[in-house]
Structure formats: structure tokens, C-alpha cells
């Protein structure tokens, strides 16, 4: 992170800190206060949107580690979410476990599934790995549907809401807080994971796996580690989703979600935690805008009524991703960096 002029770091610890100045800490605190005060002044709808955004951010953070940092493109992320979701759903609904015990198990379960489907990454990459992860999605969903006695099959499974000391987190606000706390922890963890030895190995593999191997990076270990970590995030996200719906169904994890998650990374900026947040927030807001403007369009053009709204979301999302790929492949986070650097250097920016 670049600093305002005149700020100097005097130790390695200071240089490595995520938040390096008091201004950074104040801004963080202000953001958190604002975020956690949202239920006080927001409607149910806004809370639902933010909760879904939080859950999606956790999942895309995992995809970012796997794809953005390690370069292992996955289009099976919704499948890994489903794996975690069903681990948690089965543990809580069938075995009576507490949500708090089931949540880490969901992450671990999805992580293990990720390792299994990550094995081909040792032999294949690029387009072929994409196909392997696509297969992973369909295999996971197929397995869930087959074990009807345990998973409920196509009917799905009614899932209990999380509880704290007998209090059920049923209200929108309480689940919002739960998701936001876990999202903050996930962002913190993800940010730090990529600053570790493993994180640097991921980047080395992404940039040139042969060179990384020659330098002593164990591809086998680190590629599978990336799959494990990425899928742990997906599993936790999937578990949060089904406990929010209070119902687990394979229909909650359509294949297209995996594609949109990748789109969010493209729009936000791959290989950046801020980019993940930008990507998720912007595409989700676009989704909401389309929902509201669709009926307005239909009112303006009554002759085509419903057709005016139909597929508008798909078209706009696709268009946004294409435009970013052409005009800003480094994503919104790059624009954000440019804006920040402009203000830092003002009035001497050029």
C-alpha cells in the first residue's frame, strides 16, 4: 500500500502492516461503525442485499486465492459451496449439531472435496483445468442428489437457523451481523494468507509455474493448498447461505453462479482483496438495479411489456464483463488505486 508523502516506515513490522497510519485505523473504524450500524437505518431489503453480498464476498475471496493468486481457474466454485452447505445442513438438521460446530466442518469438508478435484491441476492447466472444475460442479450436485436419505435429494433439507445461547438468529439484523463478522474475519484471513510464504508461492505459480518449480516451489503442495483454502472459503459461504434460507437445495447452487463469481473477479480485479469486494458489490448492485428498472422499462414500452425486462440482467452483466475485459482488465481496483494516488499527490498530480 502506498503512503501519503512524508510518512516513513522505520521497521520491517511497520512496513508489512496492513494499516500503517492512524488515519488508516480511523477510516477502518469509521467504516466498521457505519457497516454495523446499518440495521439501525436500513430496510429489510437493504439488509438482505448486504447479507447476500457478504456471503458472496466470502466465496469469491476463496476463488480469488485459487484463481487470482494461484492462477488455477475454477468454474466449479458453486459446487464447492454446495459441498460445504450440505455438510453443515446434514450436521445440523440430521445429527443435531450446533451451527457453530458445523460451520468449520463445512469449510473443512469443502476443502477436502476441493483437494480431490484439485488433483488434476497437477497434470493439467488452463482450459483443461476449467473443464475439470466444471465437471466437479456437476459431480458434486449429482452425488448430493443420489444420497436422498441423507441429503433429501431434490426435495432438499430444512435447515435450522443458528442459535446463540438459546436465542435464534432469526431476524434480518442478527443474521446480517453474523455474516458481516464472518466476512470481516474472512477478508482479514485472506489478506494475510497471501502475505505468507504460501501466498508468495501461489503468485510464483500463477506467474510462471516452471520458473516457480525451478526455484524450489513445490507445485504439488501449493496447488492443492490453494484448492483447499479456496474451497474452505466456499464451504463456509455455502453453509451461511443455506442457514440463511433455512433450507438446503441443489437449486441454490446453479452452475451459472460459478461463472458470475469469475465475472466478479474480472470486474473487481483479480489478485486483490479490495477487488473482490468491488466486484461483488458492483455486480450485485447491477442485479438489483435491473430488478427495479425492469418493470419501469415495461411501463415505458408497454407493447413489449415483460419482454423489456426479460434477460436484461443477463445482457447487462455479460456486457459489463466484456467491457472490463477490453477496457480495464485490471478491474475496478486499478481505477480505485488511480483515484487514491491522484488525491495523494494533489495538487502535484500529473
Amino acid at each position: 500500500m502506498s503512503l501519503p508523502s512524508g510518512v516513513f516506515q522505520e521497521s520491517y513490522g511497520q512496513d508489512m502492516a496492513i494499516f500503517r497510519t492512524k488515519a488508516h485505523w480511523v477510516l477502518l473504524l469509521a467504516f466498521l461503525v457505519l457497516l454495523f450500524a446499518m440495521p439501525l437505518y436500513s430496510s429489510d431489503r437493504i439488509l438482505t442485499i448486504l447479507t447476500i453480498m457478504g456471503i458472496t464476498i466470502i466465496s469469491v475471496l476463496g476463488l480469488n486465492i485459487l484463481t487470482g493468486y494461484c492462477g488455477q481457474i475454477s468454474i466449479g466454485h458453486a459446487g464447492f459451496m454446495a459441498a460445504g452447505a450440505y455438510v453443515s445442513a446434514i450436521l445440523t438438521a440430521k445429527l443435531g449439531w450446533s451451527f457453530w460446530a458445523a460451520l468449520p466442518c463445512a469449510g473443512l469438508g469443502a476443502g477436502l472435496v476441493g483437494i480431490i478435484f484439485g488433483l488434476p491441476s497437477l497434470k493439467i492447466k488452463g482450459f483443461y483445468l476449467i473443464m475439470a472444475t466444471v465437471a466437479a460442479h456437476f459431480i458434486i450436485i449429482w452425488v448430493i442428489l443420489q444420497f436422498q436419505n441423507i441429503t433429501g435429494g431434490a426435495d432438499g433439507l430444512s435447515v435450522p437457523r443458528p442459535e446463540i445461547g438459546g436465542l435464534v438468529l432469526k431476524s434480518k439484523a442478527s443474521y446480517f451481523y453474523l455474516v458481516m463478522i464472518i466476512t470481516c474475519i474472512a477478508v482479514y484471513l485472506a489478506k494475510n494468507i497471501v502475505r505468507t510464504r504460501a501466498g508468495r508461492a501461489f503468485v510464483a505459480i500463477r506467474d510462471n509455474d516452471l520458473a516457480a518449480e525451478v526455484m524450489g516451489v513445490n507445485l504439488w503442495t501449493y496447488k492443492l493448498t490453494a484448492f483447499f483454502i479456496g474451497c474452505v472459503f466456499a464451504g463456509v459461504s455455502g453453509a451461511l447461505l443455506v442457514h440463511y434460507y433455512a433450507y438446503a437445495s441443489t437449486d441454490h447452487f446453479p452452475f451459472m453462479n460459478s461463472v458470475w463469481y469469475l465475472g466478479m473477479l474480472i470486474v473487481g480485479g483479480m489478485g486483490s482483496m479490495t477487488g473482490v469486494i468491488f466486484g461483488v458489490v458492483s455486480l450485485k448492485l447491477l442485479d438489483e438495479a435491473v430488478t427495479v428498472f425492469g418493470p419501469m422499462l415495461a411501463a415505458i414500452f408497454p407493447a413489449i411489456a415483460a419482454q423489456a425486462a426479460a434477460s436484461l440482467g443477463l445482457i447487462l452483466r455479460g456486457l459489463v464483463i466484456i467491457l472490463f475485459l477490453i477496457f480495464e482488465p485490471r478491474g475496478l481496483v486499478h481505477r480505485w488505486e488511480l483515484v487514491k494516488s491522484y488525491y495523494r499527490r494533489w495538487p502535484f498530480s500529473y
Binding site: D155, L167, Y177, Y245, H252, P254, A303, S311
Partner: protein, 434 residues
């Protein structure tokens, strides 16, 4: 700096824990307003009907017709203050109906935010667009005690009965009706062999329950197995159809929408499979494969296909059916020059009728401007008994433990490109809910 961080971290943890626990105290279940004689409200009250529609995706074509049905029915009620030509009851003169809708793209998360938005706008009734959106909305609708109509009719709606009501029989009951008809006309030796040929989706797989298989076996079938076809196949389902042939299946049962059933049957014909082809087999589908769409599109290729639980075709032969006459009236009035010919237009009218009837019944007990969703559920939906839809469906009855409106259903067959009624068959309540 270290002390500052420690202080920051501790206060953050305390603050977050408090925030999490405080709002956890759940809201009380809404109670209905005490019934009072309805005085005349001072000004025109606008009540909303509609809800979430899947205008993007596999159901887009069907849903666009449903929305058109809603809009035209609302216009009819507003202009005439009548509920239907065959109904004598009137709609309150000072209440105006307005259709509120949003496209949920069949995405569960979108369905939730739309629900929150429309609930905040004051919707007292709701609708859901498909299984994908029904599952996450079941609990929020029940928590808010909002009654909803449904385009999906999976057995999950019954576990336990909640607040989503269907005008179709459940898919399992539709399969049961086809099985009844086929068995009554079985002329072969031994037990007829039956298998599922159904969409690979929650709705398609919802017929794959132990009770369904047990029912088929009990009435005299030999259950052979199941084959799944993508909801909208991208390649002909040759493997699945060949499996049916290899296993000497006589009857298939399944849920498919037209973009799935049409290519499947075309491939079956290519393989020589059909009621009048070399390999004798009958394909039976649930209502979303409406023959009124299927038969004209397929011509004689679709000969012998059977569909249960659908609506009567909107053709000249059925012009005397009150519901179809009503359809023609609405088309002439509101769609002159650009008629909606899709059968799901009838579904839109029927759903709008149910929602409007619930609002009307509730407004008899509580003034329209004071209605709450729970009033419409308790005094409206639960009180709908033998609601006549002009024979578009059988009379509909709902109650706290009865979310499946119809007790009987049509079973139709495609014969030479025409929809022919085979008879009315009862719902057996095959799915045994918790």
C-alpha cells in the same frame, strides 16, 4: 500503537457480540386483526397483487403469459368491480387492484430481496415463480404470514403445510392420475412396466419419492427405474430413451417443460418410440408440458403424449367453457390485435383470481385500508372454498392444512395434433407430508 490495537480489538469484539445477540430476540408471530364489520373506507385504497416472476430463463415464455393474465385480470376487476362473468359477488368499489412484479431470474437470492422490497411496498399477497425461488421463500413467507400463489407444485410445499397455495395438483398426484388412466386402459399381458423420464431439476426430481414408487407398485405396475433429462436438453436424450427401450418400458412419467418435452419426443419418434410406432410406449408428463403448447408445435409427431393437471385449450372447441369465454373476452378488450395465445395466460388469470378472492374475503372482515398480510391469510386464503375458475381448473379449496387447491384434474392426450380430454382423475395425495 500496540495498546491502541489491543483496545481497538477488544472493543470491537464486545461491540460485535452485543450487536449479534441483541437483535436475535425474534419478532412475535403476527396475529390477525380482530374482525370488525367493514365500514366504508373514506378514499380509494390500492391493493397489490402479483409478486415475483421468472421472466428470464427456462420459464420466461410461460411467465410472460402469466404476467399478462395478471395485468388483464386486474384491469377487468378495476373496470367492472366484478370477479368474473360467472361470479355474482362484487369487488369493493373503493378498492383498486394494481399488479406489482419483479423478474427474479429464478435466482433464490434475488427472490429474497424482491420479497423484502415488495413486502415493504405493502403487498398483502404474493406469488412465487418456481421451485428454485419457492424453497428459500417458504420460511420468510410463513414467518411474515403472507399467503402466496405458486406456479410450482412440488411436494416440498407440504412439509409442513405453509402459506404457499397451488392451483395445480402436486406433480406426484399428476403422475398418479396418468398411471390410473393408463392402467385402466392396459391391454397387455402381465404388469405394465413404468419408469420415470423426468427433468434433471428440483421439480423434475420431486416425483422421485418412495411414496410415488410405492403407489405405482401397489396399483399394479412394475417399477423399472428412472432416467433424467436436462430441463432444456442441449443434445437429444438418446441414451435415456434407448435405456427405456432396452428395459421394455411401457409408460414413462415425469415433469418436463415444453422446451424439454418437445425435443425429447422428437428424438423418441426418431428412435421409433411412441404409441403408434414400432416400439409401443406412452409418455406421460406433468402440467408444465401443457398440450395446448405441445400439440400445435409438434403436430402428429407428438401423438399419444399424455399430460395431467393442465388447463383446457383456448380453442374454438372450448369456447363455451366459461373460463375460455372469459379469456376471449379479456383478449378482445385488452389485447386486440396482439393476443396472448400461450396457455399460461390462463394460469395468470387463475392465480390473480385466487389472490383477489383472498383480498376480497379479508376485506369483508377488516377494512381494506387496515388489512395486514396475516388477515388476508386467515380471513382470505384459508376461507377460499370451492372457488369457481370457470372450469379453467376444478373448484379450488384452501385451508391451513390444505395448500393443494384442486382435488381432481384433467388428463389430456395429443391425438393427431389435437388435445383430447381423456377424463378427470382424482388427486390421491400420494406425498405423505410430515
Amino acid at each position: 500503537m500496540t495498546k491502541f490495537r489491543l483496545f481497538f480489538a477488544v472493543s470491537l469484539v464486545v461491540m460485535l457480540a452485543a450487536l449479534l445477540v441483541l437483535p436475535a430476540c425474534t419478532k412475535e408471530t403476527p396475529a390477525p386483526t380482530a374482525a370488525t364489520p367493514a365500514p366504508t373506507p373514506p378514499k380509494t385504497v390500492t391493493l397489490y397483487i402479483g409478486g415475483t416472476f421468472a421472466l428470464t430463463g427456462a420459464y420466461a415464455e410461460d411467465t410472460a403469459a402469466v404476467l399478462a393474465g395478471f395485468e388483464d385480470y386486474a384491469k377487468y376487476v378495476n373496470e367492472n368491480k366484478k370477479l368474473a362473468p360467472w361470479r355474482t359477488e362484487t369487488f369493493p368499489a373503493d378498492v383498486k387492484l394494481e399488479v406489482l412484479w419483479r423478474d427474479d431470474e429464478l435466482k433464490p437470492e434475488k427472490a429474497l430481496t424482491i420479497f423484502d422490497e415488495l413486502k415493504a411496498k405493502g403487498m398483502l399477497v404474493y406469488r412465487i415463480s418456481g421451485s428454485q425461488t419457492a424453497l428459500p421463500l417458504m420460511n420468510p413467507l410463513n414467518d411474515a404470514r403472507i399467503g402466496a400463489t405458486s406456479m410450482a407444485a412440488g411436494p416440498y410445499l407440504l412439509s409442513p403445510p405453509k402459506t404457499i397455495f397451488t392451483n395445480y395438483p402436486l406433480y406426484t398426484d399428476e403422475m398418479g392420475a396418468i398411471a390410473d388412466w393408463y392402467l385402466a386402459n392396459w391391454k397387455g399381458t402381465g404388469k405394465p412396466r413404468v419408469a420415470y423420464l423426468t427433468a434433471d431439476s428440483a421439480s423434475g426430481r420431486s416425483i422421485d419419492i418412495p411414496e410415488m414408487e410405492a403407489y405405482l407398485t401397489k396399483i399394479g405396475y412394475e417399477f423399472v427405474g428412472k432416467q433424467f433429462v436436462p430441463m432444456v436438453p442441449t443434445t437429444p436424450p438418446t441414451t435415456q430413451l434407448s435405456w427405456l427401450k432396452d428395459n421394455k418400458v411401457n409408460l414413462t412419467l415425469g415433469f418436463m417443460i415444453n422446451p424439454g418435452s418437445q425435443p425429447t419426443i422428437k428424438e423418441a419418434v426418431r428412435l421409433g418410440m411412441g404409441t403408434n410406432l414400432d416400439y409401443k410406449i406412452t409418455f406421460g408428463f406433468a402440467a408444465p408440458s401443457h398440450l395446448a403448447v405441445f400439440a400445435p408445435a409438434m403436430g402428429t409427431l407428438g401423438d399419444g403424449v399424455v399430460v395431467a393437471g393442465s388447463y383446457p385449450p383456448m380453442d374454438q372447441a372450448h369456447a363455451n367453457v366459461p373460463g375460455i369465454a372469459f379469456y376471449n373476452q379479456l383478449q378482445a378488450k385488452y389485447r386486440a390485435g396482439k393476443p396472448v395465445t400461450h396457455i399460461m395466460y390462463l394460469a395468470g388469470i387463475v392465480e390473480a383470481m385466487i389472490q383477489t378472492e383472498a383480498l376480497r374475503l379479508a376485506a369483508l372482515k377488516v377494512p381494506a385500508d387496515q388489512l395486514k398480510p396475516v388477515d388476508v391469510l386467515e380471513y382470505g386464503f384459508y376461507q377460499i372454498k370451492n372457488l369457481s375458475t370457470g372450469d379453467m381448473t376444478p373448484p379450488l379449496t384452501f385451508g391451513p392444512s390444505d395448500v393443494e387447491g384442486a382435488d381432481v384434474m384433467r388428463v389430456d392426450q395429443d391425438q393427431n395434433g389435437q388435445v383430447v380430454l381423456l377424463g378427470n382423475y382424482p388427486c390421491h395425495g400420494i406425498y405423505k407430508h410430515e
